[in-house]
Amino acid sequence: MLDQYTGVGVFLAVGALFVAVTLLAGKLLRPHNPYPEKLATYECGEIPVGEGQIKFHIRYYIFSLIFVVFDVETVFLYPWAVVFEEMGLFGFVVMMLFIGTLVEGLVYAWKKGALRWV
């Protein structure tokens, strides 16, 4: 069973190795000479002011939540597509009801102006 995932394993190993080797090579090759001005956060040449971490606008959350909902929908679409031929009209109607319910949420978001970027 594992044989079919050998490629995935090799890919993971090479990917991890690539990052490790690149970072290690950079660490060995580069000069190491830090001083406070160099370590300061770069802000277009100005002296940085305030916190680097800010509180983001709540509006971003709606977009990420809509993404999650339709991501879950995508997961359900895949087994549906596989059995689409056997299920015929019934499967189609069931899936359209499912998607329709979610689209209702999208229409709600749209109508409420949650999708408008300000």
Binding site: Q53, F56, Y61, L65, P79, T101, L102, G105
Partner: protein, 179 residues
């Protein structure tokens, strides 16, 4: 040990280590990223058990979406809430936490309760002696089950998702108005 055992051991170690880092790392953003790695490890375990579709769904939904939601949750929090007090002495922090109810006793009770529930579920469950060795056509099996036996729960899932979506929009718009 067979190759599968070694692979399981490696994946389990990565999963456990990243789960450990989630609760011990000092920066909450790092905790979220470690949580993402934990989810990847769980997907690997699903794959070892022959549940290939579940593994793909795990990566798509948990690594892709749930981690994103958590990171957004961190980004939406105010910086003072995220920083908390400084992390000088682990034992001093532990003792101060255990004496407070909101940050010590209640979370501890919830965690112990959850752990107990998990242990009960695991000990009660009927586990097959070995996972299904032949790779089954899991998406087809799932599709057939979804559109015959579980068609009502499937439609109910869409209602749950709709409730979550509308609830989040209502809350976010309310928050925006008060700002």
């Amino acid at each position: 040990m067979t190759v599968t055992d070694w692979v399981f051991l490696a994946i389990a170690l990565v999963t456990l280590f990243s789960a450990y880092r989630v609760v011990t790392t000092h920066k909450i953003m790092h905790a979220a990223l470690w949580l993402g790695l934990t989810f990847v490890g769980v997907a690997g375990i699903f794959l070892l058990l022959g549940a290939d579709f579940l593994a793909a769904a795990q990566v798509l939904v948990y690594v892709g979406a749930i981690t994103t939601i958590i990171i957004f949750g961190i980004m939406l929090s105010s910086v003072e809430d995220l920083r908390g007090e400084s992390f000088d002495n682990v034992w001093k922090r532990l003792s101060s936490r255990l004496t407070s109810s909101r940050r010590g006793i209640w979370p501890l009770l919830a965690a112990v309760g959850l752990a107990a529930a998990m242990v009960i579920v695991v000990s009660r469950g009927q586990w097959p002696a070995s996972p299904h060795a032949p790779a089954l056509d899991t998406p087809r099996l799932l599709g057939e089950a979804l559109f015959t036996r579980f068609v009502i729960p499937f439609e109910a899932a869409s209602i749950v998702l709709l409730v979550a979506l509308i609830g989040a929009i209502a809350l976010a718009l309310k928050e925006e108005r008060t700002e």
